[in-house]
Symmetry: C2
Amino acid sequence: MEQTIKFIGKIHSDLKKIEDCPLQENENAPAARLEIFPAYTEGIKNIAEGNKLVILTWLHQANREILKCHQRNEVGSEQLGVFSTRSPDRPNPIGLHTVTVIGIIDERMIKIMPIEVLDDTPVIDIKPLI
Amino acid sequence: MEQTIKFIGKIHSDLKKIEDCPLQENENAPAARLEIFPAYTEGIKNIAEGNKLVILTWLHQANREILKCHQRNEVGSEQLGVFSTRSPDRPNPIGLHTVTVIGIIDERMIKIMPIEVLDDTPVIDIKPLI
């Protein structure tokens, strides 16, 4: 009933604290650099500027015991089941981010935007957008 | 550099073998039932018929050592870095599926479509489609 997830890289961002983070990517989220760890660099060899990608992150500061929550910080509203929300606090705190590659820095670092995660957030997968 | 992922449920599908699976959801993938395990049922209490969801699965039969592969089973073509493909064989074999809820069976079972995963595939997260 469990498996091990491996971190394949991490995000370098100017967002250093949770208070710096917008609630969704389309609200002025900045560019960031995605670093791939050495064991996985071959996996990004065909990624090029202009590609649209889905980045999966591990929201490492999340509370994994949460099953219901207020939507978008509206504390007065009814609590929703967590799977009807995009709250980072959830049993498996996986973030989904649709981004554009805006530059290839070198064979292990690409520049992407927009993405609203904290600096040092682990990356667990990268897929082409369909 | 690792974390533990918890299975929150599983898929019940008529697809019993990998040979039964289409290559992408839009190629005649069938309906399936999504069962939530008892510890997590509160998390789906607001999911209703007609909702559009993103289901994250754990593709449990994948080969996690793969870093490059042929695209869509075209064995004659150049191998691509795995992060430029949707291959299930990848370091963290997470499947992303955009589905519609076509029925609520009971408080721990919902009917969704289309989804192309094998029967008994673990589910790791559910998010509303943005």
